[in-house]
Symmetry: C2
Subunit: 217 residues, 2 copies
DNA sequence: AAATAAAGAAAACAATGATTTTCCAAATTT
DNA sequence: AAATTTGGAAAATCATTGTTTTCTTTATTT
């Protein structure tokens, strides 16, 4: 069976699509993600999403089976985007020869990934809704594996350059990640206000100084 | 205006209440907490709660203004109960002269408080629902202050007995709390299965050994 | 016994929201 | 122009659920 996936389809009679199905999907997914992160799953009506995406509910339901399906696709897309940014941070970190500043870049990327307003909302949604959509957890898990890889790469780098004693690198990395995760937990619980980008930067620098000076002497 | 709050009311004619208003309230609150923790706020119908409590929705609505009010009262009650258990752990810890085993008791209490199935569900609900019910955050915040007090008491104890160098006690306590909180975060996200009581105990002992031997030498 | 208050059962009400359906106005090809 | 397909607008359907109301039974006191 050969599928006719030619990008330039020889069309028969009838009105051509306004945009490709892919584009429409992307439009809807983006609107849905924004809305879900804003007002939660149950707090968001399907027609609100459709209106925000500039399509009709009919179109939406032609492309997505149910509201739950839409949530799944939307969140997977966001997880991909968010965690993809960390790869950029890794690349930047790998370029710098100075292990301390490479860690600062890496950590900055991670802080952004975990503490940005968007990230916090995403995490909240996953925690709140994962029972209804187990697939979300799988996407998230795979993403965290990617994060672990990035940190492991940095640790391996330290082993080679000898900047930190073996064993210390793991501890520093683990400690710093824990600190950032803890901040996220407090934001999620409302015990602490979300951090602005500036606050994040200052805060990363401070924790870094503390960890390296306090532990790696 | 004088309120007639005599506990033994001279009743007029008419059927007397089956139980005191307080008792009925408690019954409903308990059922509501169980249900909310089980199936979430939106996932739980009011009549489900009423049936579980053995009262009619009419009675429920005579004692609680709205469903949201019920959530607030139910969660506040649970927060009180859960965090109250830590006071017991403190008392037990204070009794033991050995600082290491007192820390183990304290930490065990904290692990129970944060990692038990009940606690995880409670946290999930607060994270998911706090925007709709800001009062929840206030209750939770006050409870965390009580927790901090308990840990501070232990730290102060170390200062006096000289078991740990000044500064080290803070670090050990902070590190261990962080580890437990991180475990909770992973459970909330579905990255890790909830721990049984036995697993919690083993795990507390192991982290304790690591922290004390690794850092407090 | 009569009056009266408590509280359950069940129906009524009203709103919301997911999903489907109907109808219609473009846009394109033959 | 006729046929035909896309997709928007809006109403219809259908289920759920918070909240209120009505009715009734029961346990008291006067």
């Amino acid at each position: 069976m050969m599928v006719d996936s030619d990008p330039v389809q020889p069309r028969g009679p009838g009105r051509p699509p306004l945009r490709s199905e892919e584009e429409t999907r992307a439009l809807i997914v983006a609107a849905a993600a924004r809305a879900f992160l804003d007002t939660g799953y149950v707090g968001t009506g399907v027609d609100t999403i459709a209106r925000a995406a500039g399509v009709s509910t009919r179109t939406l339901y032609r492309l997505f089976a149910t509201k739950g399906d839409l949530l799944k696709k939307a969140m997977e897309a966001r997880i991909d985007i968010a965690f993809g940014q960390l790869d950029a941070a890794r690349a930047a970190g790998a370029a710098g020869a100075d292990p301390r500043s490479s860690l600062e870049l890496l950590l900055g990327g991670y802080a952004e990934l975990v503490l940005s307003d968007e990230a916090v909302r995403l995490t909240r949604l996953i925690i709140a809704e994962r029972q209804g959509v187990p697939a979300l957890v799988e996407s998230y898990r795979q993403a965290t594996v990617r994060v672990a890889d990035v940190f492991d790469a940095w640790i391996g780098e330290q082993q080679r350059t000898g900047f930190l004693r073996p064993g210390k690198a793991e501890m520093v990395a683990h400690l710093l990640r824990g600190t950032i995760n803890e901040a996220q937990r407090q934001i999620l619980l409302g015990l602490r206000e979300p951090l602005t980008a500036d606050e994040r930067r200052d805060w990363v620098a401070a924790s870094l100084a503390m960890a390296l000076d306090g532990l790696a002497a």
